[in-house]
C-alpha cells in the first residue's frame, strides 16, 4: 500500500505542476480569443467541449492557432464508399472535406454528416473514426501492454528472488485484487478463472482515470459512456456465461412465498431486472464519477472568466488563485476517486461473478 501512496503522491505533484503551466496557457488563449473575437465566453460550451469526445486531440491554443494532434477519420457511406483521412483536413471543424463536414448545431451536433453537391446534408456516414477517446484507449492500452508484459518478463525470470522495480510497485496491487477482491467475492476455488479480467479491468480503469487527470492530454475516456458501457457489457457477458444452474434458479424460481411467483411472477421479474440493472449501474457509476470530476475542474477554471466578464479583469485575476486552488484540490480528490472507482468497478464485477458461480447460500 505504501508504494501506491508514494506513487500517487508523485502523480499528484506531477499533475499540480502541469496544471499551473497548462492553465496559464489556457488563460492566455481564452483572453486572446476574447480580445480578437467578440464572441461571448460561454461556460457551458467550454465545459462541454472539454469533457466531450472530439475528432482531433486538442492540446492548447496559442493566440489564434490551435495546437492539436490530428486523428484519423474513418467513414463509410453508401455513396462514396470507405473514406480514410486525417482530421486536420477539417481545419478544426471549420471546413468541409470531400463531402463531409462536422456539424456544429442541430440534432447532429458534433457528428460528421455527408453532404451533396449543393452542400445540403444528405445523411450520416458510418463513423468508425479514431476519436480522442479511442486514441486515449490506444494510449492506455499501449501503456498497459508495455508495463505488464515487462513485469511478466521480470516475474518469469525471478521466481525465487525478491521482486524489484515495477513488479515490486504493482505486485501489492495485484495481490490486493487477488486476496481482497477476487478471493472473498468469488471464493478460493473459482476465483482464478476471473483474475485476468478483473486485473485488466482494474488497471485499465485506473490508468485511464489517472491519464485523464493529466490535463494537457485532456482525455476523458472513463468519463465516456461508450467505454464504460463496453466494460460493463464485458462484466455482464462474463457473468451470464459463467452462471451456473443455481444462479438461474434464483432468478426464475427464487425461494420466496408462492404468491410472489404465481399468478404474477413478481420476484422473477425483479430478479431478471436486476440482471440488467447491475451492469447498467456499473456503467453509469464510473461514467458519472469521472465525468463529474472532469467537469468540476473545468468549471472552476471557467469561473475565472465568468468573474472577469462580470467585473472586469481585476476581479477575474483575483478570483484566479481561489479557482486554481479549488482546481488543484479537485484534481487531488480525483486521484483518490480514480483509485476508488477502479476498485469499486472491479469489486462489483467480482461480486457478480461470485453470485453467478456460487453453489448455495
Amino acid at each position: 500500500m505504501l508504494n501506491i501512496i508514494r506513487s500517487s503522491l508523485l502523480v499528484c505533484a506531477f499533475l499540480t505542476s502541469w496544471m499551473f503551466t497548462v492553465q496559464a496557457e489556457e488563460t492566455q488563449a481564452e483572453e486572446a480569443h476574447q480580445e480578437t473575437a467578440t464572441s461571448e465566453f460561454e461556460p457551458g460550451k467550454f465545459v462541454m467541449e472539454h469533457v466531450s469526445d472530439a475528432f482531433e486531440w486538442h492540446l492548447f491554443t496559442v493566440g489564434e492557432t490551435e495546437v492539436s494532434i490530428p486523428l484519423p477519420i474513418i467513414l463509410y457511406s453508401k455513396n462514396s464508399g470507405l473514406n480514410v483521412f486525417m482530421s486536420s483536413k477539417f481545419h478544426h471543424g471549420h471546413e468541409s472535406y470531400k463531402n463531409f463536414r462536422i456539424e456544429h448545431e442541430g440534432k447532429n451536433e458534433g457528428k460528421i454528416v455527408e453532404l451533396n453537391e449543393a452542400g445540403e446534408v444528405i445523411g450520416l456516414p458510418v463513423d468508425l473514426s479514431i476519436t480522442k477517446a479511442v486514441a486515449g484507449i490506444f494510449l492506455c492500452v499501449f501503456l498497459l501492454l508495455f508495463i505488464f508484459l515487462k513485469i511478466a518478463k521480470s516475474a518469469r525470470s525471478s521466481v525465487d528472488k525478491a521482486p524489484s522495480g515495477l513488479l515490486n510497485l504493482l505486485e501489492p496491487v495485484i495481490i490486493f485484487i487477488r486476496d481482497e477482491v477476487a478471493k472473498p467475492a468469488i471464493g478460493a476455488q473459482k476465483y482464478e478463472r476471473f483474475m485476468p479480467f478483473l486485473l485488466t479491468v482494474f488497471f485499465f480503469i485506473l490508468f485511464e482515470n489517472l491519464l485523464g487527470l493529466i490535463l494537457p492530454l485532456g482525455i476523458n475516456v472513463t468519463g465516456n459512456i461508450a467505454v464504460t458501457m463496453v466494460l460493463a457489457l464485458f462484466t455482464f457477458f462474463i457473468t451470464t456465461f459463467s452462471a451456473n444452474k443455481h444462479y438461474w434458479k434464483e432468478i426464475y424460481n427464487p425461494d420466496v412465498p408462492w404468491w410472489l411467483k404465481y399468478p404474477l411472477p413478481l420476484m422473477p421479474i425483479v430478479e431478471l431486472t436486476g440482471v440488467f440493472t447491475k451492469p447498467f449501474v456499473l456503467m453509469v457509476r464510473l461514467f458519472a464519477n469521472m465525468m463529474a470530476g472532469h467537469m468540476i475542474v473545468t468549471v472552476f477554471v471557467s469561473l475565472i472568466f465568468i468573474f472577469a466578464k462580470m467585473g472586469g479583469p481585476v476581479i477575474g485575476y483575483s478570483v484566479a488563485p481561489v479557482s486554481l486552488l479549488f482546481s488543484v484540490f479537485m484534481v487531488l480528490l480525483d486521484v483518490l476517486v480514480s483509485f476508488i472507482q477502479a476498485y469499486v468497478f472491479t469489486l462489483l464485477s467480482a461480486l457478480y461473478f461470485g453470485m453467478a458461480t456460487s453453489e448455495h447460500h
Binding site: 477517446a133 479511442v134 521466481v159 513488479l167 483474475m195 461508450a226
Partner: protein, 164 residues
Amino acid sequence: MGFVTPDYGTIFWMVIIFGLVLFILKKFAWGPILKALKDRESSIADALSSAERARKEVAGLKSDNEKIIAEARREKDVILKEAREIKDKIIAEAKQQAAAEAQKSIESARQQIAAEKTAAINDIKKQVAELSVMIAEKVVQKELEKQKDQEALVEGLLKDLKLK
C-alpha cells in the same frame, strides 16, 4: 458528439481493443505474473514449513539427547554403586581373611609357646632331678664325714633352693 448517448464508433473500437488486450494480457502477463506469485508464495510456505520441521527435529534430537544423557547418568550411578559394593565386599573379605590369618598365627604362636613351656618345664624338671641327685650325692658324701655338717649343708642347700 453525444454526451450520454454512447457512440457506436467508440464502442466498436473499445470492444476490439479491450478484448484484444484482455486476451494478450491474460496469455502473456497475468498468467506468468500470477503463476510467479503463486510459486513464490508456495516456495516461501515450503521454506517456512521445512524450517518448522527442522526445528521440531532439532527439538526431538535434544530430547533424545537428554534421554540418552539421563540413561547414561543412571547407568553410571548403577555402576558406581556396584563398584562401591564390590569394594566394600573386598575390604570386608580382606579384613576377615586378615583376622583369620592373625588368629591362626596367634594360635600357632600360642601352641609354640605352650610347647616351649612344657619343654622348659621338662628341662627344669630334669635339671631339678639332676640337682637333687647331685645334692643327694653331696649330702651322702658329707654324711659320711660329719652329721652335723651334713645337716647344715642340706639346710643351706634347701635355702638356696627356696631362693630360686
